[in-house]
Point group: C2
Chain length 376, copies 2
């Protein structure tokens, strides 16, 4: 993996760059649509390219490990081939998912014992086997196995957990570095900064992660319910420590305003289920704020869903039609709305990139943060 | 509406023609995907054109009348504009749907009182207002309001019902002929032959319908549970009476083998929810029979869903991937499978047309009927 920074903003820490992977280039800052189970819900792969303009998607190790399973993914020649997607893929480590299995998992120094949410079967994730699983999935970018602490989190627990995440990172690196990619192209391993909302822990973690000298770095444990001010403060603190010349990934973030502020703080990569999940509930992101397309006010609005959208479907279909599809619970509602929202998130990061390159990002960002957070 | 027959088979009653409507031409024989509520379930309109190669779709008056309602459709400028579809549309009369509302409808000479399946609200359909509603929907082809008898059906009831359908037809024609299209293009009204599985009733009904001298004719009340032999016998009997120079539409039919036999008997138009509904349950139609993609046998089958399919998605995605999508209950499963099945039904009628024009339809049809009815 390679990272070139083309432009750096003078009024903020934002930068515009290019990440080069075995599956092609990614223009940063970038938003990665989430494809949990080998599909970005309700969107055809060719629509991800043509309409959404996705450059990289995310897969979930926990889900893919359970179904279809690493054996089938290996026989298929990896996730790219299995789902017919030849652009870059990043896989999370499964850490976040197994910790969400409250009452169905047990964390020890060795790893995490957990029960499948599908059939209750028992499984074990360790730093070592999670590297092996992600090797078999064949993602271009592999995430370290970490513990993602909840919010709020007791200081002592956060500290203890962070130190375990650091020890696990050493084991991840050792296992990753002694294994080879399985499908003829290079993969890279990203470590993850933890430390909850405690500045001293975040500082310690960022320094430790930076010292591992990997090709990119990630910030985990944010966007888990903490106030936005804490998210931004921790992100700023960590970005000041992580090396400037490597991509920085703020995991699970977030709202459009969070992404804009994250970019201003020096973040290059984002992912979030929000645009997809909200789309399925009729919440549409636009340049003037969020609208609930199910509201009666759109019933006779025959203007395009969003005439300024990059997405073909958002230009040709009307608000009244999309509202109708939601009211009668048709599958096409989720299809059109998901393309719309993902397209908006890709527009947001692409436009941020353009503004960074023009030198106008800071003022544009402040204006947009006000607009995109409005509920119409 | 115009109908030109280009080729007539010598070994059967099959014919290849062209129906010309205000929204373009339809090459016959044709299969019409069902778009009940203003969407062919799970398929984007542009995919209907590019992948499925649909030439005309069907809408349901009952559903569209309830939601979004004729008022909104009228304000939108008709169904074509509302759903962004500029090829021909046929609407059924709502007759079949209201008769399906067992215990929630009452049939009299005047019309049918019924309760909405959505909210229990009370409504009334008459031959007159169903014409007005279909004028407002703006379909190119409007179906007469008839009573579709169930199977089996008592002879006296079938006879009485048929005579009422004939009286209703006169009222439909009167109302249709004294009203104007609302959106600047012509619409046509198709009468419907009834008479259950009784040859004498079918003969009487076909003669009556033929005597009305409309631009096309339809056969209703079949594919409602009767043996295939009865369906074919009634179709043959009626086709021998209906004028040869006008399109014949066999409503609600059917299985691939029914369509092939129907074409051989002189039918030009078909519609059925089967390919869409079965797709959502993982049943895929292929040139070698029906497969259940959820079966374990496809788990590691990395061959294309159907390498001979006209549908892009069926060529690029594997059986193993589609099976996975069904197992994890992803929306993309329904999307890919529906495109596949509809594409197969369009291939079936297009290939029939090609064979009719080559003069090889009859032997090809017999071979195909054997193949497509196999369960693999």
């Amino acid at each position: 993996m390679n990272f070139n920074i083309a432009y750096t903003d003078t009024a903020s820490s934002a930068r515009a760059g290019t990440i080069t992977t075995a599956h092609g280039a990614i223009q940063t800052p970038i938003f990665m649509p989430v494809g949990t189970q080998g599909t970005v819900k309700a969107v055809h792969q060719h629509e991800l390219i043509d309409d959404v303009k996705a450059q990289i998607i995310l897969g979930n190790t926990y889900h893919l490990y359970l179904r279809p399973g690493t054996d089938i993914l290996h026989k298929a020649g990896g996730l790219h081939k299995f789902i017919h997607w030849d652009r870059p893929i990043l896989t999370d480590s499964g850490g976040y998912q197994v910790y969400s299995l409250k009452g169905m998992r047990k964390i020890t120094e060795e790893g995490v014992k957990f029960q499948s949410h599908v059939d209750g079967s028992r499984h074990f994730f360790s730093p070592e086997n999670v590297m092996d699983i992600q090797r078999m999935i064949g993602a271009d970018i592999i995430m370290a196995f970490d513990e993602c602490t909840p919010y709020p989190c007791d200081y002592q627990y956060a500290k203890k957990s962070m130190h375990m995440t650091h020890r696990w990172l050493k084991r991840c690196i050792q296992q990753f570095d002694r294994t080879e990619p399985l499908y003829g192209y290079n993969q890279t391993l990203s470590p993850i900064v933890q430390g909850s909302t405690y500045p001293d822990l975040r500082e310690e973690s960022a320094n430790f992660i930076a010292s591992q000298n990997r090709e990119m770095n990630a910030i985990g444990g944010l966007s888990v319910g903490e106030p936005h001010e804490d998210m931004y403060a921790m992100t700023e603190l960590v970005c000041n420590i992580l090396p400037k010349d490597k991509p920085r990934y703020l995991m699970g973030v977030g709202l459009p305003e969070n992404i804009l502020e994250g970019i201003a703080l020096g973040i290059d990569m984002f992912d979030c289920v929000l645009p997809s999940r909200n789309a399925r509930h009729g919440l549409l992101y636009t340049k003037d704020g969020v609208i609930n397309i199910k509201n009666a006010k759109w019933q006779e609005d025959f203007s395009p869903i969003d005439s300024t959208s990059d997405a073909y479907t958002s230009q040709i279909h009307t608000k009244a039609y999309l509202r109708h599809l939601f009211k009668v619970e048709e599958l096409l509602a989720a299809q059109i709305a998901t393309i719309h929202n993902l397209s908006f998130f890709l527009w947001l990061v692409t436009e941020s990139r353009n503004k960074i390159m023009e030198g106008t990002f800071h003022s544009w960002k402040n204006e947009m943060v006000g607009k995109v957070s409005i509920r119409r």
